[in-house]
């Protein structure tokens, strides 16, 4: 990055981590927010707050325009053909549930097959468990092969006329693997199935073009890309959204309501029942503009560089095992250290001001494939630098020392 972007993020100057600077390495969980985003939310509430699509007064029109401008910004950001194909949700999780419920419940039949992968986040697993229970659909899995890559051969083997959906993660939140979603989409379409991509970990970190991928649905979250909490996006091909049943019922998503029946508005409104997270959408637009200004290509290169540097630097730590592909490694690096549980690693790093994540990362099936109960994970973003990696490595070495196998006598000598 050209200059120190930490200056755009107030938290690095306000959070007091025991007198030490905050080394925030948990951006895959949620990112920090630049002042541009915080200010956009403040401005909305202080100057333009009103409900949208409802009032016939000017203030409401201004709020509506701001909200719809955010939709247009989100469409532009992932190169969606039109704003109407962008549905605002709470987060990527809700986006994926929306498809599972609105499309899945109404279209899957007993014996139909849904293909997921071994590296899915729970958000792209549990909704399908629920839908499978209701419909009798069957779930199948793309296996993970060498270098933490999906094995497309295993996909080809399970694809069939029964396949109705292939839903996979774009970038793994544990491994950082970038999956070949364009190829997976092509294979899904050849089999006559829908292709759904969970882009929660791709959109914040690299240029994404949903038209180039060719997928039917694409999901992501605002809070993982410098935006506010409580706002997510579902992109859907417009003709699909148009044919689909709605998800939540309520205000704004209808044309006419009778006591026992209703007919529905056009997409995207059909899928946005009730008062939306207006401030959230407006904050998301500010985040998009912030990222566009820096350039997603730059963000990606910066993260890959940090990821590679960290992989090299950490490999010197005694007993470390790193779970990160050699071929398509990104700014996410998961690891374990012999004799030091990830949760203890996290506490030790925290005492040095370093925030990382420890646990199953909402990917328990992947943990079983990796044959670990949990991992530690450092994830980098545009505000991190090599100095952060240095502090991380030093703190890790301290942890190794504390947990060195010992007899009673030689503790803390």
């Amino acid at each position: 990055m050209d200059h120190d972007l930490k200056h755009d993020f107030p938290i690095f100057f306000h959070w007091d981590s025991k007198g030490k600077p905050l080394i925030y390495l948990d951006s895959a969980a949620t990112t920090q927010k630049p002042r541009q985003v915080i200010q956009a939310i403040d401005d909305y509430y202080s100057k333009y707050n009103a409900n949208v699509h409802r009032g016939a007064y000017e203030l409401s029109q201004v709020a509506t325009d701001l909200y719809e401008d955010s939709r247009a910004a989100a469409a532009r950001f992932i190169n969606a053909p039109e704003p109407e194909s962008i549905v605002f949700t709470r987060n990527a999780t809700e986006s994926l549930n929306l498809i599972a419920y609105a499309w899945g419940l109404n279209n899957l039949r007993e014996g139909d097959e849904v293909i997921l992968s071994e590296m899915e986040h729970h958000s792209n697993l549990v909704p399908w468990h629920i839908v499978a229970r209701h419909t009798g659909a069957v779930l199948k899995f793309i296996k993970m092969g060498g270098d933490f890559q999906l094995d497309l051969g295993s996909l080809r083997k399970i694809l069939s006329a029964k396949t109705k959906v292939v839903s996979v993660v774009h970038v793994s939140n544990v491994l950082g693997t970038i999956n070949p979603v364009k190829e997976i989409t092509r294979l899904a379409h050849e089999a006559g199935a829908l292709a759904i991509i969970d882009g929660a970990q791709s959109v914040p970190h690299m240029p994404v073009d949903v038209r180039d991928i060719g997928c039917d649905f694409f999901a992501f979250s605002g809070h993982k890309m410098c935006g506010p909490t409580g706002i997510g996006v579902l992109y859907g091909r417009l003709e699909l959204l148009d044919r689909m049943e709605p998800f939540l019922g309520g205000g704004e998503m209808i044309n006419e309501v009778f006591p026992t029946t209703s007919n529905y508005a056009k997409p995207p409104y059909k899928f946005e029942a009730g008062t939306p997270n207006i401030a959230g959408a407006i904050g998301l637009k500010a985040a998009i503009e912030y990222l566009e200004n820096i350039g997603l290509q730059n963000v990606m290169e910066h993260e890959i560089e940090l990821g590679n540097y960290a992989a090299e630097r950490l490999s010197a730590v005694e007993g470390i095992r790193i779970f990160r592909p050699k071929k398509t490694g990104t700014g996410v690096i998961s690891f374990t250290v012999d004799n030091v549980h990830p949760h203890d690693i996290s506490t030790i790093l925290d005492s040095e001001g370093v925030a990382i994540r420890a646990g199953h990362h909402c990917a328990q099936p992947l943990m079983r494939t990796l044959q670990v109960q949990s991992t530690a994970r450092a994830s980098f973003y545009l505000y991190n630098d090599k100095q952060d990696v240095e502090v991380l490595a030093k703190a890790l070495e301290k942890g190794v020392a504390i947990f060195k196998p010992r007899k009673k006598a030689d503790v803390f000598k």
């Binding site: 203890d344 109960q373 503790v411």
Partner: protein, 143 residues
């Protein structure tokens, strides 16, 4: 908030060499507990005769704090009555939440966990074994 306050000698020792580790084949009562935030997973199985705990074992996987705490707990409760153990558990919760007070005698080796009170994120780890034990008591009550 030094790390030495948290990772005490006793804790590291129990973590690396846990006591009463395993599963009782035909327990009087048993339960399983999770700590969703970090993936700790503990099973506790107990034999109770005439209101007194005569044997207890724990198994599972997790961080040093959760494993060591379960190990220390098993040492502490064998030979005690269920009611005594409930009182102990309450004391232990108080201690790790940092309510102050002197816990020396009754809690035995479990006082090694006093430092947890300065690491609020780890309180859930320290109490997992105890909560799981209490769940086992409860499920037995219901039968």
């Amino acid at each position: 908030m030094s790390l030495n306050d948290l990772f005490t000698e006793i804790i590291l020792d129990h973590y690396q060499h846990p006591h009463n580790h395993g599963i009782i084949a035909e327990p009087t009562m048993s339960s399983r507990g999770f700590n969703e935030s970090c993936g700790d997973d503990i099973q506790v199985s107990v034999i109770v005769r005439d209101g007194t705990i005569t044997d207890v074992k724990f198994s599972g996987a997790g961080c040093s704090i959760s494993q060591a705490s379960a190990s220390v707990m098993t040492d502490l409760i064998i030979g005690k009555s269920v009611d005594e153990v409930k009182t102990l558990a309450a004391k232990f919760y108080e201690m790790v939440k940092g309510s102050g007070g002197d816990y020396g005698e009754e809690l035995g080796d479990a006082v090694a966990f006093q430092g947890v009170s300065k690491f609020p994120v780890r309180v859930k780890c320290a109490t997992l074994g105890w909560h799981t034990l209490e769940e086992a008591f409860k499920s037995a009550d219901k039968k």
